[in-house]
């Protein structure tokens, strides 16, 4: 049961409401997106059925060498330059716990040496995540561009 907003192909907008607290968005009677009573946003978008969207809760793209600077970001208050190839991403709004997923990437120079690693190090916390930039187990290096995303 749900309150349904349906874009019907013959009758146009059709609204059906109940007291379940869930909202379904339909096209021609087929559910394409849902917001359930737990606040989960679910969508189809070619998946075949509605599934929960797990959002990117923070992201950052920054210059890791020279004058270290954030190029752009979302839900990030700052980065901390802790030394050569060592950075911390600080969240503007804390994560609900420290069990989020992280992905980092970077490159060493504009035209060459792509694929350098920016990997999380230390303990994940709700307020920040530490990264080290390096090539395999070699010593840390400063990267020209660093990118990190956090999914929860």
């Amino acid at each position: 049961m749900a309150t349904i907003i349906n874009a019907d192909t013959s009758d146009g907008l059709k609204l059906t409401s109940d007291t379940s607290g869930q909202i379904d968005f339909q096209s021609a009677g087929s559910t394409k997106a849902t917001i359930d009573t737990s606040g989960n946003l679910k969508f189809d978008s070619g998946y075949g059925s509605v599934g929960t969207a797990y959002g990117c809760r923070a992201w950052v793209n920054f210059n890791g060498t020279g004058t270290v600077a954030i190029r752009d970001s979302g839900n990030v208050s700052s980065i901390t330059d802790r030394g050569v190839g060592q950075y911390t991403v600080n969240f503007a709004t804390n994560m609900p716990d420290a069990d989020y997923a992280v992905h980092g990437s970077g490159k060493l120079a504009d035209a060459t040496n792509y694929g350098r690693q920016l990997y999380p190090t230390g303990t994940f916390t709700t307020s920040s995540c530490q990264f080290t930039a390096a090539i395999s187990t070699a010593s840390p290096v400063d990267l020209l561009h660093c990118c990190a995303i956090f999914t929860r």
Partner: protein, 62 residues
């Protein structure tokens, strides 16, 4: 602006603010949130932090 603080091993860390965050917060508020508790820190102009990182590991708090 940047925030520099003394790390536990005597080195220097540099906090680089996100421009978006500074639309709604001050540097002092950022320092209160992102500088480790008890660390000596200072809010400085960008130009105070060297862009030459050849000896980044040798930076010390003076």
């Amino acid at each position: 602006m940047r925030i520099i603080y003394e790390t536990s091993d005597g080195g220097v860390a540099v906090i680089v603010p996100a421009p978006e965050y500074l639309l709604t917060h001050t540097m002092e508020e950022l320092a209160a949130k992102d500088v480790p508790a008890g660390a000596n820190y200072e809010i400085v102009e960008d130009s105070v932090v060297p862009s030459d990182r050849a000896f980044r590991g040798a930076w010390t708090w003076a």
